[in-house]
Subunit: 493 residues, 2 copies
Amino acid sequence: MPELSVVSCQIEELKKHRSLSMDQSVKPEKIKHDHQLSFDLIEAQYRLRNSRGSDHGKSVLVIMSGIELAGKGEAVKQLREWVDPRYLHVYAEPPNFFNNKQPFWQPYAQVIPAEGQVVVLFSNWYNDLLNTAMHVSKPLDDTMFDAYIQQMRKFEQDLKNNQVDVIKFWFDLSWKSLQKRLDNMNPSEEKWHKLHGLDWRNKKQYDNIQRLRERYSEDWVVLDCEDQHQRNREFAQHLLLAFKDLPRHSGLVANQWPQAPIPQNLSAITHPEISKKDYRAQLKKLSRKVADCLRYNQRKVVIVFEGMDAAGKGGAIRRIVKNLDPREYDIHCIAAPEHYERHHPYLWRFWTKLENASPISIFDRSWYGRVLVERIENLAADFEWQRAYEEINRFEKDLVDTQTIVIKFWLAISKDEQEQRFKIREETPHKRFKITSDDWRNRAKWDDYMESASDMFYLTNTAYAPWHVISTDSKRQARLDIMQAILNQLKAE
Amino acid sequence: MPELSVVSCQIEELKKHRSLSMDQSVKPEKIKHDHQLSFDLIEAQYRLRNSRGSDHGKSVLVIMSGIELAGKGEAVKQLREWVDPRYLHVYAEPPNFFNNKQPFWQPYAQVIPAEGQVVVLFSNWYNDLLNTAMHVSKPLDDTMFDAYIQQMRKFEQDLKNNQVDVIKFWFDLSWKSLQKRLDNMNPSEEKWHKLHGLDWRNKKQYDNIQRLRERYSEDWVVLDCEDQHQRNREFAQHLLLAFKDLPRHSGLVANQWPQAPIPQNLSAITHPEISKKDYRAQLKKLSRKVADCLRYNQRKVVIVFEGMDAAGKGGAIRRIVKNLDPREYDIHCIAAPEHYERHHPYLWRFWTKLENASPISIFDRSWYGRVLVERIENLAADFEWQRAYEEINRFEKDLVDTQTIVIKFWLAISKDEQEQRFKIREETPHKRFKITSDDWRNRAKWDDYMESASDMFYLTNTAYAPWHVISTDSKRQARLDIMQAILNQLKAE
């Protein structure tokens, strides 16, 4: 955990800074220091910005929380005067109450900074959690509260591993000072004050907020906000250290990798025959059932298709959606990430695709590309794809925990059958578009794909999001099997 | 207007198609035709997809409207069975009532297809307008209705000019057939039926809708939906023609370009002196006034900064935001478009930036890049930048018409003063990041920039969004002038 030790180093260094600067209370000195701080911040900010795309590129996500009137807004305002404000983005929206319908990170996925960027989140998952705890009629008990905090920490660790540095600030203010500031409140600040809808005159509520935040603030920077200038400087100095800290990504070393055994059903494909007539009758019945089940399900459904080229992903998807209304589903075809997507955490493009999604989302290839094509083609470093299994499991768990059913298919095909289908594609005018040199290249790496797929099943076949391996040498039987597997999983949930 | 003639050709061709296919009502023939249509669609769809980034790349935006139960959903469902459904995106959200707070295209900017894509809009600006006309307490009069239609047509023409083909379908159904279908309505369709919240048993309402749509449907494809199979085939055949029609972009020829005269204040810079003390006092007063004016304004504000490098855009922005809360404004730094943005209409990245924007949006460089750097560096073809002035004027008009104040600054600097500032930047450690080889290269093209800026003022200095040219050789005076100009424009509105 290099990031955590970095943070504690920062805090140590800052404590030194603080005790030094405490001695100097003469005004001209202070101004000189502010100028120096501003220079340092701007320089660090530009270095950070120019790090984009390099081996030490990162972004900084600043989580803002704390007691009302402690001066979060003031501190960011002062910071924006010290830095180049054009490269400091601020995100502030009304809080999202935890409703168990979407992962806590979903409303913020879009604003997570790309490499080189700095984003300040006035609204964030911690504030949402605190607000929910203060507002819901049935209070969150401490166990549940702590469980959320654990999830958040894990998500943040994933962000940090993917070059999004996360730095969290609690702006603290004593009860006495808060009351004094409320007495003297500037009317123009009132509108922000009211945003959170809490009664800051209520001592019991104040104590409860402090009690709750102490459950999680050990890895936070807690700023004492009695002295406004001191608060602004400390806040800025913490960020300065975060901007400056640009460790090389390649410093991380991969583990020895124990290859999982290759399951029988990936290599030796069984394909029972089925007559066209039986197939038609069964497909008709099954596909209606599937459509009804998908449609009248109370949860969202995410269906993932992976498999070798020509295994029939497209055909299967056509049969699934046949009885659905086009407004009920989205189909996402996942190819290589766009250039701008590469400056975000690997899973980011999937997080954002799921925001405001249709009730049924079908992925033709998916986030598993990280541990398949990216692993095989060396597009991800070893330590990156090795880490990805856990990241993916957490991502899917977050979806399942928030009313989403995740159904995953691997369409298995034999090497001979693939060759047959490639040839047919090449010979059929309206199928010729379906085959490219990439397909032949992937075929040449068949064994690598079998190994990677085996690791994938071994490490991501979870109880909450199991894999279905479907033999597809018989296209007809495969389609029926897929329908049946969807029905079974939907009914089991 | 090459696009319009293309559309009418399509319609002619389709009429031929239709009269041919009318004769053949035997069932096996029909199935064979459906297969052929499906092959043709898939082939055309792949060609379209592969056109991305080429000289004949385009996207297709399909506008869906019509009488309830005429079968819009069914037609798209059938289409999705005939094409590769993975490359056909559908967008359906509840209607947005026209509220004069945002341009009609704003809710749809994000889903406008990128080159190679096809997007079907069940929700769209026409449906929003029809719904507004049917629902608002004070009915839209015909003049207002027609004015909206004119705006929409112009926007669509801009889309077409920027390689987004727009094809509009009215699914028509007689009053008698509608009533019959309502009698036999399938309960599962009910939920879509209710979406529009209209009473389709009301003959007066039906007649009114038909009357309104006849005001604009002359460039629409009006599909008679009595026969469902015929409807689906016709719909698909129209799209097939749209997919196939991939004209070369470079076919368009630019006009002879009459260069606008270069205004005095761009080349001969006057810079009155002002003492530091006077400056400080005035700035303090003005910047507070500006903050108040910006904040308590009922409208949104967009401030645009253009000008030669080192003219002081960043410094001016810092002074403007000094007295604002960081949650009240966004600063957008506009550099070259990202790779994925280039597959969209030129203005698209600005449309999307203004969605859910803060009350105050400041642009450090802007959409004017099209007629400045892109013109000068040949990043846009002549016919593209020549067309851009009108596109930009329409864009700004749409903003101004929907409660946004657009304030535009050109920061003028003399060539000598720029050289001075470049040198200071190179010599000052914390400013060194601000200067790159690009800056020197742009300087070498000084005269080109003066010419392009002059054309820009001449063609985009509109009454609703005027340019303010500020001499910046005296930084202090310039900042005061900028503040004063903002105040003046805000007060004038």
